[in-house]
């Protein structure tokens, strides 16, 4: 069994085709970035091959972005992740009410709103963990509306009848229950010690009816106030918890020649109710954004983030298309104690693109969790050299370190060096 995204991709694919057919090709824009890389992981002798493709198709009322990547080798995996894919239209002639269907985060429908995984809301929202080092905040599949009361006040509503859990790197199980994990899969306990005897654990995944898992309501309601200096968003939503809580049942499986601890996992996605606020002072230095999200049923469970933004340094003056904005900040949970390591274990992050020359860009990402006993680090540095405007070569170093039970420490032998080329259409 592989926790893959087949069904999910099919449904999004249908929506994508429908959107493409609905619009006139003459008013549409399309961009595609295709990259191919060779990765050398510290834990492996042989290099592996990566393919990465990002497509953006956009018309006046339709937007579709898809990301695809593929890694070769026994620990490789692939994914096709279309988000957002949405069709929108205005309900009224004044264009104050916008309705949409498809897949997108409701707040993305507001201008200049981008929910990042390093923020409080982004962290508890559905995260795409398929590319574990590059988590993304994905939207629901459904529809909604955005109503503007005036130029400052808006209301956002979204509803989804379809629930999609978080998809992490695959954790394959063989028929015998042995693990066949992808590179960045988080590995469950290997063995159990009982009565002084160590027994290997065999896992068995028990899923309920797929319809019971997927057909679950999700509702989002929010307001937004925005002027030139401040943006204040308040919101509340209910949805099943995207990261499964595993209900386990263990037995001793006695065979002819071996005894195993047989753990059957029944993933549970309990419904949660959240409320939160997002405030950004746009006229201050670094345009700081503060987010606070509170679980309405579990008082200690809340997340806080503070993010600052600035324009990435550009050494050659006047050239800015290669240097998107830089950000830094903090993300944490104050009171809740989680058994498993979390991305929000007092995360400090810094993302800085630096345009070194008109053709050479450096991108640096540092993420570190600093919660005592869960300290870990992810540091990525990438250099991109543009040979032509649509063709570049890239080299990157990714370093991972940390304690056993820390967020990045689980992958501490997965540091890598990579080189590759990228072609843009």
């Amino acid at each position: 069994m592989k926790l893959g995204s087949g069904l999910f991709c099919k449904s999004i694919g249908v929506l994508l085709c429908w959107g493409i057919l609905k619009v006139s090709p003459s008013r549409a824009s399309f961009r595609n970035d295709l990259g191919t890389y060779i990765f050398q992981y510290a834990s492996e002798k042989a290099p592996t091959l990566y393919l990465s493709n990002k497509s953006i198709f956009e018309t006046q009322s339709f937007l579709a972005k898809t990301e695809l990547y593929f890694e070769s080798g026994p620990r490789g995996s692939w994914t096709l992740d279309p988000d957002p894919v949405r069709y929108h239209a205005f309900w009224d002639e004044e264009k104050r009410t916008k309705v949409w269907v498809g897949r997108d985060h409701p707040l993305h429908l507001l201008e200049d709103h981008w929910i990042e995984p390093t923020s409080a809301l982004g962290n508890i929202w559905v995260q795409n963990q398929l590319d574990a080092l590059n988590p993304r905040v994905n939207g629901w599949i459904g529809g909604g509306l955005v109503h503007a009361f005036d130029v400052h006040w808006k209301m956002v509503f979204a509803y989804s009848p379809l629930f999609l859990p978080t998809f992490g790197p695959s954790l394959g199980f063989s028929e015998r229950g042995d693990l066949n994990p992808a590179r960045f899969a988080r590995l469950p306990p290997e063995s159990v010690v009982t009565g002084g005897v160590t027994l290997p654990i065999r896992y068995q995944l028990r899923l309920n009816q797929l319809s019971e898992l997927l057909l679950r309501h999700q509702v989002f309601l929010g307001t937004s106030f925005s002027n030139e200096s401040v943006t204040v968003d308040t919101f509340a939503f209910t949805a099943p918890r995207p990261n499964a809580a595993a209900l386990t049942d263990a037995t001793l499986a006695v065979g002819q020649n071996s005894v195993n601890a047989n753990v059957s996992i029944s993933p549970q996605f309990p419904r949660e109710y959240w409320g939160g606020i997002r405030v950004q002072k746009k006229d201050l230095l670094f345009k700081p954004a503060f987010e606070f999200v509170q679980n309405l049923e579990d008082y200690p469970n809340h997340q806080v983030s503070l993010t600052g933004y600035f324009k990435g340094p550009s050494i050659p003056s006047g050239v800015s298309n290669l240097s998107p904005r830089a950000s830094f900040g903090i993300l944490t949970h104050f009171q809740k104690k989680f058994e498993a390591p979390q991305f929000s274990d007092f995360l400090l992050f810094l993302r800085v693109p630096v345009e070194l020359t008109t053709k050479l860009v450096s991108r640096t990402l540092v993420q570190t969790t600093l919660l005592p006993s869960r300290r870990s680090l992810y540091w990525m540095n990438e250099l991109e050299y543009l040979i032509k405007t649509d063709f570049s070569i890239l080299a990157a170093l990714r370093v991972l370190a940390g304690e056993d039970a820390s967020y990045f420490g689980a992958w501490r032998n997965q540091s890598s060096l990579s080189i590759g080329v990228k072609k843009i259409w």
Partner: protein, 779 residues
């Protein structure tokens, strides 16, 4: 701008260089170890709590264990839900989750063996476990008795209660019944039990197969046609045991008494009734069914497999079986013999109860150590107040012991006194053999237990013992002592006549006649001698060296400690010797009595010390019988042909004669002539009487004159020993008297000279404390 760029580049370069070390250090990082889940279940109360006397605590512990085991079992899955096949049980046990031994393979073998013994042939499931717990719940009381008997407490016979025995037999019966109606061959039963005997018990493992044969033969013989005779049928054997316990439930007071654990609340009449009932039950148990003979060779095979040194005294004892039980043969013991033994038990218990009934403290917990105040003739006849401090207090325990010996002699008499003369005539050697074998059979049983528990086996070589006993004349001494010990309350003339007839007998090995009390005394003496031998070795820390089946003690050490032996156990004798010169009297006599070491050796076999005990008892007994007024003096009376001195001369010459004929002392024709002279001519007797009184034979010719003889005073034990010493080895006596070195015939003899014993080895107290004089028990 260029400056900024350079600065940034410089910064990045320095960052890059400094990060090189960090990257290098983390590049080869090992992946974190995968998490291990540690499961700790709730601690259970100790299993022994199930057998707690507190019913609440016991029930709680039982429930917790049951719930835990059944709960755990539900978490185990084989091919079938809630059931494990035999193969799966083996896999589970060998994984170490259920540990029955340190070796996984043995653990698995044990588990499968248990399953089969419990009757779970195909495997085990929740239903079987429930059945097992139901069985434990049902037999908790019996299991508690088993636990208390074998695990919780040291197994001592006087802690064993009949109710416990009945409970344990019931439990065992019920347990073996779990196997059901299937029959198991001895070979297969051996395969099932073998894994349960640790490899550190090689003798028990080796003896298992023959032990099972022995067990099957025993049950076959004991249960008769209630069980199969060649295979193990748990259900039938269990049924037999349950019937047995049911049958004998009403006889528990008698069984308790036999184990020395009498319930004081049981009145003597009730005890007598229970003893009678016991005999009746044994009889009906044996006679109601066909019981095959028990093949005694099974015992030999078992003992051999246990590596118990041959020969097996018990088996030689069985040579007497046809004589003691007409239904038995040389090869097989008839269970009807148990009827005879139950009769012995009844006589023992009835005599004890009747004798003790008038003693008030018979109903107290510590009744055994309670002073006896009643009247029991055999005890009165055997009791003495002068020697063997171990038993010289007349207690109910002493009375009970005498009653047991008396009932045994009653049984032997009934079998051997075919002509009903009240006396049995037999070769002394045979009687001695029977006694020694009887005593050694107890040692054999102890050796079996020691062998099973891998403890050192005490070498018991009965055949060698018998040969040696004959060699050193122990048998002769014992027979004489047994004749002298009982106070027959007669004039003494018949005793003297009897002894004289023995002296004048013409045969080399004389037939020996013995009455019932004599036989009782005989068994009593041997039990006493065995107890004292053990006491000497432990109390005086005598170093024992084992060689094969034999145990040796340094002869010089024995000479060093024998004054202490006399001081502790024979105080009158000790005091008399001290007053007449210890070396001059006891020193020479006991040195002569004690055998010499074999050529090239300096030691003696441990049992050879018994000669000191028996000789001392003999000397004390002579005094007891001849000193009629108990004043510690042997007086003479010119008008009494059987005065105290005459008695002593007759008895001592009888002793000397027997010892000579037994080869115990050198057969000196001159001495023999003198003894005959003394017994036949009154002039010689007068001279001998004078010698006894003066403590020397020097110049006795003058005392053959009656007037001179009458002038001599009474003799004492010391003067008698002084004369004996002169007669036994005049050279040693002379050396002691002159303070010179004398003959050293064997290692240790040198201690006799230059007052070495007196100066270094006599106890510090000059006078040994004597027990208050009593002529009869209860007075």
């Amino acid at each position: 701008m260029v400056r900024i760029t350079r600065s940034i580049l410089a910064l990045l370069a320095s960052l890059g260089i400094s990060s090189c070390g960090f990257v290098k250090s983390v590049w080869h990082a090992e992946p974190p170890k995968r998490q291990v889940v540690v499961l700790e279940s709730k601690p259970l109360p100790p299993f022994s709590k199930i057998f707690s006397e507190d019913e609440d605590e016991s029930s709680r512990a039982f429930s917790e264990w049951k719930e835990s085991i059944l709960g755990s079992f539900k978490q185990i899955e084989g091919r079938t839900k809630e059931f494990l096949t035999r193969d799966e049980v083996r896999t589970l046990v060998e994984s170490g989750l259920v540990k029955l031994d340190d070796n996984p393979r043995t653990s698995g073998d044990r588990a499968l063996a248990v399953l089969e013994i419990l009757g779970f042939k195909d495997g085990i499931g929740t239903r079987e476990l429930n059945d097992l717990f139901d069985w434990i719940g049902l037999h908790k009381k019996e299991a508690r008795a088993f636990y208390n008997l074998f695990i919780n407490e040291t197994l001592e016979s006087d802690q064993v209660h009949a109710t416990q025995i009945i409970s344990v037999l019931n439990l065992f019966g019920s347990f073996v019944s779990l196997l059901g109606d299937q029959e198991v061959s001895p070979e297969h039963l051996s395969e099932l039990i073998l894994p349960w005997i640790p490899k550190s018990y090689p003798r028990a493992r080796n003896a298992l197969r023959s032990g099972i044969d022995l067990g099957i033969s025993f049950f076959s013989s004991f249960c008769g046609d209630r069980v199969s005779h060649s295979v193990w049928n748990g259900k039938k054997i269990g049924g037999c045991l349950r019937n047995l316990t049911k049958e004998f439930e009403s006889t528990t007071p008698a069984i308790d008494f036999m184990f020395g654990n009498r319930n004081p609340s049981i009145a003597p009449n009730e005890l007598i009734r229970a003893a009678g009932n016991f005999e009746i039950r044994v009889k009906s148990w044996i006679e109601g069914h066909h019981h095959p003979l028990f093949p005694v060779s099974r015992v030999a095979e078992f003992a051999k497999a246990l590596n118990i040194p041959a020969p097996y005294a018990y088996l030689k004892l069985t040579e007497w079986m046809p004589k003691l039980n007409s239904d038995s043969t040389l090869e097989g013991l008839s269970p009807r013999f148990f009827i005879e033994l139950s009769r012995v038990a009844r006589v023992w218990i009835v005599e004890s109860a009747r004798a003790s009934a008038s003693t008030l403290c018979f109903i107290e917990e510590n009744w055994k150590s309670c002073s006896f105040t009643g009247d029991y003739e055999p005890a009165s006849q055997l009791f003495n107040g002068e020697y063997a401090t171990l038993i010289r207090t007349p207690t109910l325990g002493f009375v009970s012991k005498v009653a047991l010996y008396h009932s045994l002699s009653d049984f032997i008499f009934a079998k051997l006194d075919i002509e009903k003369k009240g006396e049995i005539e037999s070769n002394i050697k045979e009687l001695i053999s029977l006694s020694i074998r009887l005593l050694d059979s107890n040692a054999f049983a102890q050796n079996v237990i020691a062998g099973l528990l891998e403890r050192p086996v005490d070498p018991v070589n009965t055949e060698d013992s018998l040969k040696s006993h004959t060699r050193i004349g122990l048998a002769e001494l014992a027979a004489l002592a047994a004749d002298l010990i009982p106070n027959r309350d007669q004039s003494g003339r018949s005793l003297l006549r009897k002894l004289q007839s023995q002296i004048l007998g013409r045969e080399k090995r004389m037939p020996y006649s013995m009455d019932r009390i004599g036989l009782t005394a005989f068994i009593y003496l041997y039990d006493l001698v065995a107890n004292l031998n053990h006491d000497y070795l432990t109390r005086y820390d005598l170093p024992v060296k084992s060689e094969g089946t034999l145990r040796f003690v340094d002869r010089k050490k024995i000479i060093e400690v024998f004054p202490k032996i006399l001081f502790d156990h024979f105080p009158r004798l000790y005091n008399e010797c001290v007053s007449w010169g210890f070396e001059r009297t006891c020193g020479v006599v006991f040195d002569e009595i004690l055998p010499n070491s074999l050529p090239g050796r300096r030691d003696l076999e441990a049992y050879e010390m018994d000669v000191i005990t028996i000789s001392a008892i003999l000397i004390e007994s002579m005094m007891n019988r001849c000193d009629r007024n108990s004043d510690d003096f042997l007086s003479g009376n010119p008008i009494d042909g059987f005065d105290e001195k005459t008695c002593m001369i007759t008895v001592s010459t009888a002793l000397a004669k027997r010892l000579m004929r037994a080869g115990f002392v050198d057969q000196d024709h001159q001495t023999e002539f003198l003894m005959k002279l003394t017994n036949n001519f009154f002039i010689a007797k007068w001279a001998a009487k004078a010698a006894l009184a003066r403590g020397t034979v020097k110049g006795i010719a003058w005392f053959a004159i009656p007037a001179a003889n009458w002038l001599t005073g009474p003799a004492t034990l010391g003067s008698v020993l002084s004369v004996a010493a002169e007669l036994m080895d005049p050279a040693k006596v002379k050396a002691v008297e002159t303070g010179q070195d004398g003959p050293v015939d064997s290692y240790g003899d040198e201690l006799l000279y230059h007052n070495r014993l007196t100066d270094y080895h006599l106890p510090r107290l000059k006078v040994a404390p004597r027990y208050p004089k009593r002529s009869k028990t209860g007075e």
